[in-house]
Symmetry: C2
Subunit: 413 residues, 2 copies
């Protein structure tokens, strides 16, 4: 018998039939003698429908009112799921974000959790009630409705699991776990049975949509074991937990290819202290995340070239800012390359295994892939390439590091 | 400059275009220097959509969860309307039933208001904010969401107007006021400029859908002037207020024909004390409202016949109960007549004018309409007729009491 927080995403509750299906899943876990707290998202399509209404009303909807509007999506799901479970004889009860005591700051549409009391959930559990909680939402200290941003239901689930000291937080989704790479690109991609928080965080930051990065940070901070699994098929999924001895057996856990990047180069930047700070300071002020930066060695004329990458969706805004700043600091032309991609290797095993980087570069050279930029962290190496090389590079690296031969990492938790 | 509570029903906010339209109406009143509090219903069709979802989930949805579900309808409207007004430069802010302090008992789906603090609304008004309040909903003392039943948004508006001591509560709807009779039946029907609370209450009980009966009672209790007007066209509508000298000039204010009735007759009831109480006690216990009762004089065999009317929608349930009770008390057959209707005259002038009843009976006799049952109150006379006579009877009475000749009652408020 365990205390489990189970979270079901939008596609898992997307239709009445699917709500019936997950009610069965929940009932099975509950009847097996576990204490269960369920967190749900809005039915898939519902958030978009509400956003469409808002944009029909005005091109720039007020953030506070958007939160009031969007929070309805999850409220509909909790009511329907609670009804379903009650009709099956289970004492389920719906709870809004406010009702479970999720208190956030006042940054509407992207609020951060300040405090989780969860007292009403504890009381409900003590009374044998199965709480069905609205994900994605909270209230600020003035009791105004806030939302946690896209993917925020994961955060609700992890935060509740941490507060309740749950044995596990199970994220039910439409895939059966985290994969060694995108199965749509590499057919031999395999499910990873076990990952460390740090690896999952790197993978989430690299665009793996299966878990929201903030919820992984939260899980790591409070040591909540997170299991990612499918709500449509049986299986153990992927367990995200503290690094353990098993994990070091695999040098590399996953390979990612991220096309959501663009490269900006500022040519002929005066090579004086503070110039780079000036340039990137302006970009950061506008909440644009700069990923990689390369500064060439100075020319003889004390001018240098600076290249950096930004998310492609922020490119237009970034270019406006950079051109203006380049003019102010007396730099030359500003050049853009959109058709780039970032290929990354992630694995805690890199800490104890040297030579991963050189093996990566050799593999890419063998495939005649040109590397434009490189960045590394303790458990990650990323290379920026021409976009047309990305699938080839991912396939070659996936094979080189034996990710197609399973199981490279022990299944046992 | 006045403090006004303005309520807009489902059809008035039924589409994005209509929300734009009422935003203009509200802006006009606000820019004219008035303090305005707005109460809205769910967009028309939305409550039915949510109910449909609930019934796809289970044939008997839990009442508490239904309230959680249905309360979303109004939340969507308050957010959209507040966004619209904010985009026009007005400092509007949405409030849920909980956020304005509407506290109810725990009778989910038909909760009664226990307390209205409205402090957040007062504070908002003091700060120059235009509050947009979700109608139809509140919270019980455990802060669980409750709803006030169909038409409950009227009650929210009147309760807020009472608590805020507003100068007027304006109910915007899809008709331009209360009429002397149904304009679909009698083409010469006229709008009534002014009505007393008691008259409005009788008319609402007789099926006039323009104002919910409970909200009229509430308005009468706290002396809130209620104006009913169209959100689609200009006009003064109907003002519902305390009885004044003007009102007595018209003997009859309105004529109604109500087809939502059925007659049950229990034949051969033993004429002993307590027998009627027995019969009607059972019916009342099941929340079926018995409207009129007739007991014949006793036969020589100490048996009597009892006839009474119930809403047609409750007929099947009522018959089950009555048949069972009739058997228990040793009565004879139970007969039913569905094709009946109730025609009523309403007017505070009846108090000071005698002879209204006899004029009514003469008019019906002239039209060869047979009267089956009669009931009267201080300001109302009702007759039960064969259903096929109802339109003829309404037309004849409307003309007999001069309701087609306007204005019979002063327009001035």
């Amino acid at each position: 018998m365990a205390l489990l927080v189970e979270k079901f995403g939008g596609t898992s509750v997307g239709t009445i039939e699917r709500i019936h299906r997950i009610a069965e899943l929940i009932e099975r876990t509950y009847r097996a003698g576990n204490e269960v707290v369920v967190v749900v998202s809005a039915m898939s399509g519902e958030t978009d429908r509400l956003l469409r209404l808002a944009h029909e009303i005005t091109s720039q909807p007020d953030d506070r009112e958007l939160d009031m509007l969007l929070s309805c999506g999850e409220r509909v799901t909790i009511a329907l799921l609670a009804m379903k479970l009650r009709s099956r004889g289970i004492n389920a009860r719906s709870f809004t974000g406010r009702q479970v005591g999720i208190v956030t700051n006042s940054s509407h549409t992207r609020a951060r959790i300040a405090k989780v009391t969860a007292d009403p959930v504890k009381q409900a559990l003590d009374q044998g009630v199965l709480p069905i909680v609205a994900g994605f939402q909270g209230v600020n200290e003035r009791s105004e409705v806030t939302t946690l941003g896209r993917g925020g239901s994961d955060l609700t689930a992890v935060a509740l699991a941490a507060t309740l000291k749950a044995d596990r937080c199970v994220i039910f989704t439409d895939v059966d776990g985290v994969y060694t790479t995108d199965p749509n690109v590499v057919s031999s991609a395999r499910r990873i049975p076990k990952l460390s928080y740090e690896e999952m965080l790197e993978l989430a930051s690299l665009g793996a949509k299966v878990l929201q990065a903030r919820s992984v940070e939260f899980a790591a901070k409070y040591g909540v074991p997170v299991q990612v699994k499918s709500s449509f098929q049986e299986g153990e999924g992927t367990l995200v937990t503290h690094e353990d001895a098993d994990m070091e057996q695999a040098v590399v856990s996953g390979v990612t290819g991220d096309r959501n990047q663009a490269k900006i180069t500022v040519v002929g930047v005066p090579d004086r202290p503070g110039i780079a700070a000036n340039l990137f300071g302006v970009v950061a002020e506008h909440s644009i995340v700069v990923d990689m930066i390369i500064q060439n060695v100075s020319h003889q004329d004390a001018l240098t070239d600076i290249s950096f990458t930004v998310p492609r969706s922020d490119l237009a805004r970034a270019m406006d800012l950079v051109k203006q700043t380049a003019a102010e600091i007396g730099a030359g032309a500003v050049e853009v390359k959109e058709a780039i991609a970032k290929v990354s290797l992630v694995g805690v095993g890199m800490r104890s295994h040297s030579g991963v980087a050189s093996r990566m570069f050799q593999t890419l050279a063998r495939e005649k892939v040109n590397i434009m930029m490189i960045s590394t962290s303790e458990i990650k190496i990323s290379c920026v390439l021409d976009e047309r090389d990305v699938d080839k590079a991912v396939r070659a690296l996936h094979e080189e590091f034996g990710l197609d031969k399973g199981p490279g990492r022990a299944e046992s938790a």
